[in-house]
């Protein structure tokens, strides 16, 4: 209710200025849409829920807990040694090395919230909000077609390119703001979690620069997702059809291409999203041969691998978006609105 009142007051204030601005009107329209507010709120509620679960299921180890964990691990090592009497002492030392039993945290009743979880969480926030922002983009593009308000808007601004690109810019701006806010909120909550339930001392040297770079790429992913959703909805002029098309493309077409035409992988959305978001990028297999082995089975031999760096994947995704926006723009400019 408060948001609604604030929006109405703002709107009246902006309208009272008497300066024409399609962008302002579009921004206010997005702000006024309850579905958009609901989606964004849902994202933050889920994030908060995850933080509460992490808080409940983690704990900062006290010296007593640490000693108990060490004792448990030592018992496991001793048990390992006692069950393999045939080994020489050297072999036993190697087989039952305490390091083989994993880090000491594994023996805590509740693990601490480590700095690696901050980065993993940032990745999750980026993915989750990208999905939500895709929906925001689709619904922003589809709303004018669903309510059939596009002709009314064109009575006010007949330059169709300007209308669509302004809408796209506003969607991109909103997506960037929401994704950046989500990452900022996550950073704040996760830092509090580390302070309360973990340990800062174990963080890598480049922790903050790496986290910031990851979050920046997360914001870019959110913007790309929202813009792609908007362009798709403008292309097919229907929110449901756009969502269906996206699902079929990602779940069916890309999987089929990945399986039958692996050479296309450097251009597939899902692979490039992985390449953009994974620190350091990803390697994708673009060619492999299959041989019958002597046992009647098959053996796959990798013939070629392509490295998708963060930068390369980002540029590929941008190029894909440019194609989608270009197609949407051309069809929107040429289309009869009957």
């Amino acid at each position: 209710m408060t948001a609604d009142l604030t929006g109405a007051t703002l709107l009246r204030g902006l309208a009272a200025t008497g300066r024409p601005s399609l962008a302002r009107a579009e921004l206010l329209r997005i702000r006024s849409r309850r579905f958009v507010r609901l989606l964004v709120a849902l994202g933050f509620v889920v994030m908060l829920g995850a933080v509460i679960i992490a808080f409940v299921n983690s704990a900062k180890p006290s010296p007593a807990v640490e000693a108990a964990a060490r004792a448990t691990r030592d018992a496991a090592v001793a048990e390992c040694r006692s069950f393999q009497p045939e080994l020489t002492p050297e072999q036993l030392d190697q087989a039952c090395d305490p390091e083989n039993f994993g880090p000491l945290e594994q023996f805590y009743p509740k693990p601490p919230f480590g700095t690696s979880s901050v980065q993993n969480g940032a990745l999750g926030v980026a993915g989750g909000f990208a999905a939500l922002l895709f929906l925001v983009g689709v619904t922003s593009g589809g709303a004018d077609w669903a309510a059939k308000t596009m002709p009314a808007l064109l009575f006010w601004e007949p330059r169709r390119s300007r209308v669509m690109l302004t809408k796209l810019a506003v969607v991109a701006g909103v997506a960037a703001a929401v994704a950046a806010l989500a990452q900022a909120v996550w950073t704040g909550l996760a830092s509090a979690l580390v302070s309360a339930r973990g340990d800062w001392s174990a963080r890598p040297d480049r922790f903050w620069p790496d986290l910031l770079a990851l979050q920046g790429r997360g914001v870019l992913l959110g913007v790309l997702a929202a813009c792609a959703g908007f362009a798709l909805a403008m292309l097919v002029r229907n929110t449901g059809a756009a969502l269906g098309l996206a699902f079929v493309y990602l779940a069916v077409l890309e999987n089929a291409l990945r399986g039958f035409l692996p050479s296309t992988r450097p251009f597939l959305l899902a692979d490039n999203i992985g390449g953009l978001m994974t620190p350091g990028g990803v390697d994708v297999v673009t060619s492999k041969d299959r041989y019958l082995d002597s046992g009647g089975g098959t053996t796959e031999v990798i013939q070629a691998i392509v490295h998708l760096s963060n930068q390369r994947s980002g540029l590929t995704l941008l190029a894909g978006l440019a194609i989608a926006v270009g197609l949407a723009l051309v069809t929107f400019r040429r289309r009869d609105l009957t």
């Binding site: 109405a8 206010l28 009575f155 007949p158």
Partner: protein, 306 residues
Amino acid sequence: MPVIETSGLHKDYRRWRRPPERALNGLDLSVDEGGVHGFLGPNGSGKTTTIRALLGLVRADAGDMRLFGRPVPAALPEVIGDIGALVETPLFFPTFTGRRNLELLAATAGVPGARVDEVLETVGLRDRAADRVKGYSLGMKQRLGIAAALLKQPRLLVLDEPSNGLDPAGIVEMRELVQRLGADGRTTVFLSSHLLGEVQQTCDHVSILSRGRLVTGGPVRDVLASRASGDVRLRVEEADAALARQHVEAAGFRVTSMGDAWRVHAVADPAALTRLLADRGLYLSELSPIAADLETVFLELTREAS
């Protein structure tokens, strides 16, 4: 200077695996500045297509269009600020209030916020402005559409079937509003409607369309006069009726019954009829010309054209 001009306007709608549908077939149209100009035609005659083409919503295949003397769609951005439009059922975001829908449009065009209240007042929606549009009746949505069209204080107001869905009182209100706007000396109202009686009462000029072509146009009075039949309504005292009819028919006029009076067809000189009966001691209670109404003219013209 005409505010609307089209010449040789053609438009075919292409259809999937069917032959194209011809909507406009060389339409020549001219609408002069000021007053209310009616735009009539049967369903599918191309009225809405013409309006949509003028407003840049559909692309004409051939022909020229001008608004305020400027070629459109090329110069549409320059003249759109002077044009308000309501095309068929006005569409708004259903979950927003009426006021918010108008405020969004006002923000788009930089119209001062105070103007929103003025137009809401003009169309009688001020009391319901805070309600969501999805709760509006069709008539209220129509009035909100008019309010949106008036926001820019347009010099040309294009109204496509503005009385759709209105109750009788709403139709009267709409007629008065249109007449008021047309008489303000600043606004030209271009009104497309199926309600021929409404158009006849409201419009100064009219253009009639059939199959994508203009079949006639001009001042309403001239259009009606051009199709006038010369028929008159004649009534005498009941006691003299039979005798009077005999004399009129004997003089070569065709007479048909018309309630308690007669319709005398094709009377070139009504005074001759008066003289004929007076000479025989029969005196008229009523003698009045029967004017062609727009409905008759419309049906005749569109039937001829098809």
